[in-house]
């Protein structure tokens, strides 16, 4: 590797390292999900268009079928009327033939449009499957992100607590507690000192009571002596 290539590589790695520090993976993931949702929105718009065409085409096919049936009905009525004498048979047959021709035309159109509707419906189903797939992916990503956010928060809190417990963080809570402890101890010492200064001299009565107290042998001492005698130690 040439000297300049190495220099370039070092620079590149430094830039990546600096960029890594600026990147917030959570925000980047959120942005990624938002981008996916925009793609989904576009896909849904296309799907809506296909569905609209599909409904319209199927309706058109149905109408043409109905129209074909209507022309056939009209042809039958014409012949019936001619049979009943209300119409001239030749006219009735001519009109009935026209009606049947129109019926044929409408039936053919209905078939063609119905095939188109089938195609649109198939396409709509395929697009719907894709849209559902994107939705499912987004949903999985969102759930993963929620879990990761919670884990990141817990990890951050645990790191702080452990740092404080290990007293690594000198400016943290432990240091402050130590400082406060020292201050309380200082205040307590001062309080005792002030109390000593404030206590008045002992009175004669206090001295007499104290001497009497000292002269008294405790019951425990008496009991001990008795035990020793019993054991023959004394």
């Amino acid at each position: 590797m040439s000297f300049f290539s190495r220099i370039f590589k070092i620079g590149q790695s430094e830039i990546h390292s600096t960029l890594d520090k600026f990147e917030d993976p959570i925000k980047l993931t959120e942005q990624g999900i938002r981008d996916l949702k925009k793609d989904l929105q576009d896909a849904m718009t296309s799907l809506a268009e296909v569905k609209a065409i599909s409904i319209r085409t199927r309706r058109d096919a149905d109408n043409k079928k109905k129209l074909a049936a209507d022309y056939e009905r009209k042809a039958m009525i014409l012949l019936q009327q001619a049979q009943g004498g209300a119409l001239d048979m030749a006219d009735a047959e001519r009109l009935a033939a026209e009606a049947l021709s129109k019926k044929e035309q409408q039936a053919n159109d209905a078939l063609r449009v119905s095939t188109e509707a089938d195609r649109h419906e198939k396409m709509a189903n395929q697009l719907q499957a894709n849209v559902n797939k994107i939705k499912s992916t987004i949903s999985t990503y969102e759930n993963d992100l929620i879990t990761l956010k919670a884990r990141a928060k817990t990890a951050s809190s645990t790191k702080k607590i452990n740092q404080q417990l290990a007293k690594i963080d000198s400016s943290g809570t432990i240091a402050m507690l130590e400082k406060m402890k020292a201050k309380v101890e200082e205040d307590e010492s001062l309080a005792i000192a002030y109390a000593d200064i404030a206590t008045p001299d002992k009175t004669i009565d206090d001295e007499i009571n104290s001497a009497l107290k000292a002269g008294k042998t405790s019951t425990v001492s008496t009991d001990l002596l008795e035990l020793k005698k019993k054991m023959g130690i004394l």
Partner: protein, 188 residues
């Protein structure tokens, strides 16, 4: 607040972002004309959204759904809980001529009506105002609602004006029965 927000430039972007955020979770209550959804093995286009005002701030909503061959009405009523019903318009004459006669004589239809071999019982009646497409001054009407023994099938008679009657038959539905809700091109 950024400079874009201060001058109102960012508002539209934020609204668009909000719409995008909700795109994977569109609720049935939020459907608007132009939306599509699947129900009962068919794809339906939402063609209108009306509401009924029953007084005392009691509102119910109704969406007109059209497939290639029929029109149905999806209604949402919230009392203690949200109830969804799907109704199909039926000819008032199909209920029998005695119904109109009964209303003319008693100002109310009978307490029991049989339709398509199902017996319906009068559950409630009342009046309100209908707001077509959610707008306008509202059109006054009276309605009588019947339900079958199971409480899942409904029959409704509505009187508009002096002598105009409409009827519909419907059933209780669940929100999960409506799937693949899709905003239309100009509805987002």
């Amino acid at each position: 607040m950024g400079w874009k927000d201060f001058f109102g430039f960012g508002k539209k972007d934020k609204e668009a972002d909000k719409e995008t955020d909700n795109i994977t979770n569109i609720s049935l209550s939020s459907i608007k004309p132009g939306y599509f959804l699947d129900y009962d093995l068919k794809t339906w286009e939402v063609t209108a959204r009306h509401h009924y005002d029953w007084g005392d701030s009691d509102l119910s909503y109704e969406w007109q759904l059209k497939s290639h061959d029929e029109t149905i009405y999806l209604s949402r009523e919230s009392d203690d809980q949200v109830d969804w019903t799907v109704a199909r318009p039926i000819s008032f004459l199909k209920l029998g001529s005695h119904i109109r006669k009964h209303i003319e004589e008693h100002e109310d239809p009978p307490d029991e009506i049989e339709f398509e071999s199902i017996k319906y019982y009068l559950a409630e009646s009342g009046g309100g105002h209908f707001f077509k497409d959610g707008t306008g001054p509202g059109q006054a009407f009276i309605s009588w609602d019947y339900e079958d023994e199971s409480g899942k099938k409904y029959l409704s008679i509505e009187q508009w004006g002096e002598d105009e009657f409409e009827a519909s038959a419907g059933q209780l539905v669940e929100e999960y029965q409506f799937t693949n809700i899709l905003p239309g091109k100009n509805t987002a």
